[in-house]
Amino acid sequence: MLLRTAISRPEKFSMYWKETMRQMDDIGIGSIIIVSIIAIFIGAVTAVQFAYQLDGTLVPRWYIGYIVRDSTIIELAPTISCLVLAGKVGSNIAAEIGGMRQKEHIDAMEIMGVNTASYLILPKVIAGLVMIPILVCLAAFISILGGYLSSVVGGLITHEEYLRGLRSFFSDYNVLMMVIKSLVFAFILTSVSAYQGYYVKGGSIELGQASTRAVVYSDILILLADYVIALLLTQ
């Protein structure tokens, strides 16, 4: 119901555009550092742990690059990044909209004739759908770089071996899968959080609870969607 109201013709396109740009800056630029830090460690840990698993086996060590690349692209970059973004962006969206509800900002806009569901939610969902896939692509790239740093600079394999792994068995379908996952996760985390904020009632305790619910529900739905997408796209 809320989404149906939110997806309607804007009263003034320029105002929605301005708000979408502001949200893109908040969600996208504001999350680059946290996503980069997480991504570099994901790649580094994956490389080190896979090297440990390869010890004493016949699997060639250049497989480290291949495993880091594919596990990052298919699963770790979209899922871990979006779980973290649900915490950062999701709680922020719920708190921002919920705070507006409590301070009567939403009522004030309603009385002016603004479609608040649309003006407050649609720009956030669009900004998420545009920026989160870009953040996930960035996370994948940095994660592969993290794998390189830990395995090559760390002395586990050579530069050539890592590159050979990276270049082996590449399927662009995996990249498509990553983008599809990030789009679905972006929609889940922005819309669930906006819903929790929009319908908040009561005072600061309820606002905190709504913010927590936004993160918990988003995380659960992201993991569930991850499983469903994996089933559908790998059959």
């Binding site: 301070k103 603004v114 479609n115």
Partner: protein, 255 residues
């Protein structure tokens, strides 16, 4: 003119408004007074459509607001301004941006025209020079005045004020009252003020309605307040012994 016809509102088992019917006249300050919990805010929210009545109708002129679709209501709301108890200014915007927001959202005015209108409204509420301040940098009285400027920027026909004096010192409260009265008369607006401020009642009450436990207990104007023998009204307006002595002195003098 706005008309409330047999308005009832219940929350679960509790009936908060019990069949309120009254008229709010054009070009006058219409006050809804009553103790906390009497149903004033609920009535105001029903009148502007932020809540739906359990029963009854709200009419704006000849239009039945209660039966309108959402889109039709938006058209009416373009003619409505509202001042909230907490001012409801957008924290991330400056005073000027707050006042300009309805213009940005609903008009195709040029930048220059908008600026002119914003400056005019800020001048009317005596806030010249405060354009670039953020709400957090202004006092409670200034925030109320910004709220008034924002609510009149689209030249509304109807102005709603929810406890405009709450949290203000008596002098500032008087200024806000004067401002609302002046804007109402000059713009020929239908103004509805929800208050429990005694001064407002005696200073700007063209039409006064007293709500008591969800019912309309008394209706009249400020000159009828002193002479009314309605016990609920007298208990509410002249609640303290000091005010009762003042009333008695005023009545003595008038004799």
């Amino acid at each position: 003119m706005i008309r409330a016809v047999e308005i009832r509102k219940s929350f679960d088992e509790t009936e908060v408004l019990k069949g309120i019917s009254m008229n709010f006249e054009k070009g006058k300050t219409n006050l809804i007074i009553g103790r906390s919990g009497a149903g004033k805010t609920v009535l105001l929210k029903l009148l502007v459509g932020l809540m739906e009545p359990t029963q009854g109708e709200v009419w704006y002129g000849n239009d039945n607001f209660s039966e309108m679709e959402k889109k039709q209501r938006r058209a009416i709301r373009m003619e409505v301004g509202m001042l909230f108890q907490g001012s409801a200014l957008f924290d991330s915007m400056t005073v000027e941006e707050n006042v300009r927001f309805p213009l940005d959202m609903f008009t195709s005015m040029t930048r220059k025209e908008k600026q002119k209108q914003v400056d005019y409204c800020l001048e009317r509420v005596e806030l010249v020079g405060a354009n670039k301040k953020f709400p957090s940098e202004t006092s409670g009285g200034m925030q109320k005045r910004v709220g008034i400027a924002r609510s009149i920027v689209l030249n509304p026909k109807y102005l709603f004020c929810d406890e405009p004096n709450s949290g203000l010192d008596p002098k500032t409260a008087l200024l806000i009252d004067e401002l609302i009265k002046r804007i109402t008369y000059e713009n020929e607006m239908t103004t509805i003020i929800n208050t429990h401020d005694m001064n407002s009642v005696m200073e700007i009450g063209d039409n006064i309605a007293l709500l008591y436990q969800g019912e309309l207990a008394w209706q009249g104007n400020k000159s009828e307040v002193l002479n009314s023998d309605n016990k609920l009204l007298q208990d509410f307006i002249f609640a303290s012994p000091f005010l009762q002595r003042l009333r008695d002195a005023a009545l003595q003098n008038s004799k």
